[in-house]
Assembly symmetry: D2
Homo-oligomer: 334 residues x 4
Amino acid sequence: MSAPRVGIVGCGLIGQKRAAALGGARLVACADVDEGRARALAARAPGCRAGADWRAVATAPDVDLVVAATPHDLLPAVALAAVEAGKHVLVEKPAARVAAELEPVAEAAARRGVRVRVGFNHRYHRAFRRLRALLDEGVAGPLLFLRARYGHGGRVGYEQEWRADARISGGGELIDQGVHLIDLSRWLLGDLPHVQGLARTFFWDMQVDDNAFLTLRTAAGQVAFLHASATEWKNTFSLELYGRDAKLQVDGLGGSYGTERLTLYKMLPEMGPPETTAWEFPMADDSWAAEMAEFLEDVRLGRPPSAGLADAIAALRVVEEVYRQSGPLRPGRR
Amino acid sequence: MSAPRVGIVGCGLIGQKRAAALGGARLVACADVDEGRARALAARAPGCRAGADWRAVATAPDVDLVVAATPHDLLPAVALAAVEAGKHVLVEKPAARVAAELEPVAEAAARRGVRVRVGFNHRYHRAFRRLRALLDEGVAGPLLFLRARYGHGGRVGYEQEWRADARISGGGELIDQGVHLIDLSRWLLGDLPHVQGLARTFFWDMQVDDNAFLTLRTAAGQVAFLHASATEWKNTFSLELYGRDAKLQVDGLGGSYGTERLTLYKMLPEMGPPETTAWEFPMADDSWAAEMAEFLEDVRLGRPPSAGLADAIAALRVVEEVYRQSGPLRPGRR
Amino acid sequence: MSAPRVGIVGCGLIGQKRAAALGGARLVACADVDEGRARALAARAPGCRAGADWRAVATAPDVDLVVAATPHDLLPAVALAAVEAGKHVLVEKPAARVAAELEPVAEAAARRGVRVRVGFNHRYHRAFRRLRALLDEGVAGPLLFLRARYGHGGRVGYEQEWRADARISGGGELIDQGVHLIDLSRWLLGDLPHVQGLARTFFWDMQVDDNAFLTLRTAAGQVAFLHASATEWKNTFSLELYGRDAKLQVDGLGGSYGTERLTLYKMLPEMGPPETTAWEFPMADDSWAAEMAEFLEDVRLGRPPSAGLADAIAALRVVEEVYRQSGPLRPGRR
Amino acid sequence: MSAPRVGIVGCGLIGQKRAAALGGARLVACADVDEGRARALAARAPGCRAGADWRAVATAPDVDLVVAATPHDLLPAVALAAVEAGKHVLVEKPAARVAAELEPVAEAAARRGVRVRVGFNHRYHRAFRRLRALLDEGVAGPLLFLRARYGHGGRVGYEQEWRADARISGGGELIDQGVHLIDLSRWLLGDLPHVQGLARTFFWDMQVDDNAFLTLRTAAGQVAFLHASATEWKNTFSLELYGRDAKLQVDGLGGSYGTERLTLYKMLPEMGPPETTAWEFPMADDSWAAEMAEFLEDVRLGRPPSAGLADAIAALRVVEEVYRQSGPLRPGRR
């Protein structure tokens, strides 16, 4: 098979990351509402064309695989158009503003027999790949619960970005960073039908939440205790997973989130301080490349992507339920 | 005034810590169901007598101040007897198994005009004293929320200890370590009338909870997001407090919980990485001595102790509400 | 006074950093053997001209202050020409390959009444500015000794760079990173007339040293125990300064050297674990700007720069003595 | 074979540690100038006798193996008497005040065919056992050099202890903690015939050194750059070993020296930040037990102990040479 031909819709930061991590695939077309941005991206790939019309890219005859990297509101439309045109699609998380927007995409993908992957790239960070390998070796025993903290310190003007506009984003911190925590929890523990959550806007002068506190449960009773924050003041990522026999902890995501590190705390029969092993990954983040490589294999083998539309739909249902439970976002004003 | 004369009821680990941290007070009597333990403690203080009869100590004419350091079930009875005999009382947290047990104590203390302090000693750890001073200087601005994790790795036979017997302890991890987190949250944010919580037993073969996940709120909407765990595998204490202008973090409690450290993350006007200052306290824990010194001042000045019966009652009401919401503790068996 | 007009000779990495940190001064001319590099730098400053002729910049009538940021062999010639033309000069460390090359520059600077600063910028890192302030407050008491480690992990092709050519560089790791350690030691402890040292080439296939181990002493007997390494495998900077009453430690220099941090270990009267305070500086390195701001003040006030030619001469004499003592650089081949 | 019967001479801190870590051997006799201390130790082992006469224990017919744990001045005499009586001997480091005191012991041991081990227990710390295993797997490639720092923060009255009396101790910090660094360097790199060193007394009012700075070399040119300090202010142990392909670092020794940790920095072909793996050993120090278990095997198999008299002699020769080079120990008074 010759190299799959990729079209990218949305040439911002994430679209650029995707273009730089295509591995065996080849970029042939890209589109952005800011056509200059599309041209700048196209200039990096010989023979790649650029334009402002996303639909032209999503349905182009010479495109095999579409990457949808737009703001949230456009993601399902791009994915649907591409799927209907018979393309495989990598749609960035959260894939839509609400789960219902993804149902037609899922229906069309099944009908057209194409693969749709959702860009929950955190699953592909080196620390999480190693964590998964350790779990598969059985090092932790049955899993009990997990705890995670994810947040950023904000940036001047944050409340003016499109992420702060609920019509475009579908929500705030919960649907942005929080959805990664929900996906990782589902990936590690399984489905989370029991949802308790609270979204709030503490700091930023915007209509969406800047903090979300979640207590989720599997049918078997395992708990995911999650906090996502846009007022973390110092960029932070930490996920702690507890099994009967060990604790596994991931800290950092590289860059301003600190060196990525996986720590294994292995209980001893006599209990007391656990035997501790840590792996650090100071190298550049290769999650985007690893995820795309796996998607190309999904396509080649005709297998369902490990983070697919069903995962995005499930994560968005948690998000929606938390927003429903939360009521007005401003503390003290209800 | 001559040195206050102290009687200690309960000569286990905590009673011994109290005896070693009496400061300007003098130990004159102690009692324990295990009379040998009482004698061993008495041997350390010249002229101190020992016995098995707690009531004799709690009501002795030559005792001014009673320390109640028994298992939970006996705490309110010891406190009540001492108060009725006109003694000041330091009763260890949680002070009772349920809030209702403390109401007669509070009533009697008001009637007899004596002081009752509850031993929420974490408020007196060096890191928290410094944190409080920084808050009082206004370094953090208005407080938004806090997040805390407290847990131990368990020890062989844990499920056989009195803490695992709900009739004695009133509950598990939530009422043991969790109640410290609730008290610290109240001390920092104020009353927490809104309670969402989940207590569960994941690991230990016992009738009480080994994990509790809490989302508490003040009337003004500030959130305390708390997790206490008896399956933490590695002893951990961490409290992160977020204000509009800064984050303050306390890690460790000394000993097996790691060196106590306070970190201030001060936001810069341009945001981005905060200016960071950390204070470490590798010295021995002096919280017990600092707490007692303040109690002696409370007594001398006739002022209400800063952690008093009302604080214990409020914390226990949170505990009870969480148990009520949680239903059966075993995951997957409901 | 209007803004001083600056000419930069050498437009590589360091010249570019200098151009970005001129503060109240104005870049009017720059030169580089690679004229394209000069033009790229000039393009950032309105009205700045570019060329390949360093002498034209160093002596230009409209230049008040020259920055010499070339490879080592050219530094003294640029400085001398500029000084003779009546310019003030900031010459990058080590300022020359050997001390003797700086004597004519010092003589000319005295004669022409101009200021020459040597770019030992580490003195201006935030952590060292704070350390100096703490020393000035007397926190450490009389100083006893210091210990420092500085090194990088190398990069592919390192042995092909100009730094590996002794005719251009005057030496290897010792004259590159080691000279910073020598300067910091002199800045903190004073002159270091007693020199014991060993330079060696362990790894890189080049004619200059990749490691240097130094034991230096002041006349009063204080010791500087220093190691500089181009085979550190992980970028590292650490300086530990011991006084009678406290230890002060600087770790990291930002970027790949890790977050810059200053730690104060203050001895307690009872000894045992010291009271520990740490300051972290995750913000961007502003040492270049702080150093230039101070130089502009030196010029304005006619005062001698705190790191001047005498400091570079003294540091180079240590370097030369270590090379003299070391003999052949290859271990096991002598 | 029945359990070897052990006699301990010197019942201070180290003698007690040895008694608690005898493994398959059995304590039958112990002696101390402070007979009460001997009795206290004997009370822990059924049937063990105690006395003040070391010679009676060292030569007792029912003793197979003698542990010599006295101050330095007595170590060679105890060892010699025991060896002449046909006993195997574990003599604590440094085994004597000067190398010459060990020559008769070595001669007698050869003549009597008994095993003498020297208690360089650091080789048996978990981190060093793991480090050795990694080296044996070839992870580091040929070794280039090492750097180590070892020191304590002192304690009130330190200058009054026997360690501060050169007639008893043979020297100060160099012969106390420094000798461990010398032994570890020899164990890792081999013999160190080239010695440069400086011993000094900076702080303590005593006749022995409180700091020693060493630059040692193997015949092949590998360097050991070592600093031992009794004015470290915070207890510290760190050894960094550099190979062509990796760096291995050991930090901490447990207890007040911090959790013991081994870190492997593995160079990547592209260089840049190395792949990093760390192992922590928060469990109790078992070096004493591991060392004794190996000695019992040495005895059983008739093989030479891995740290034997030749190692102590070589380490003491380094110590002596450093003292010779150092001249008067007081800085600034020569």
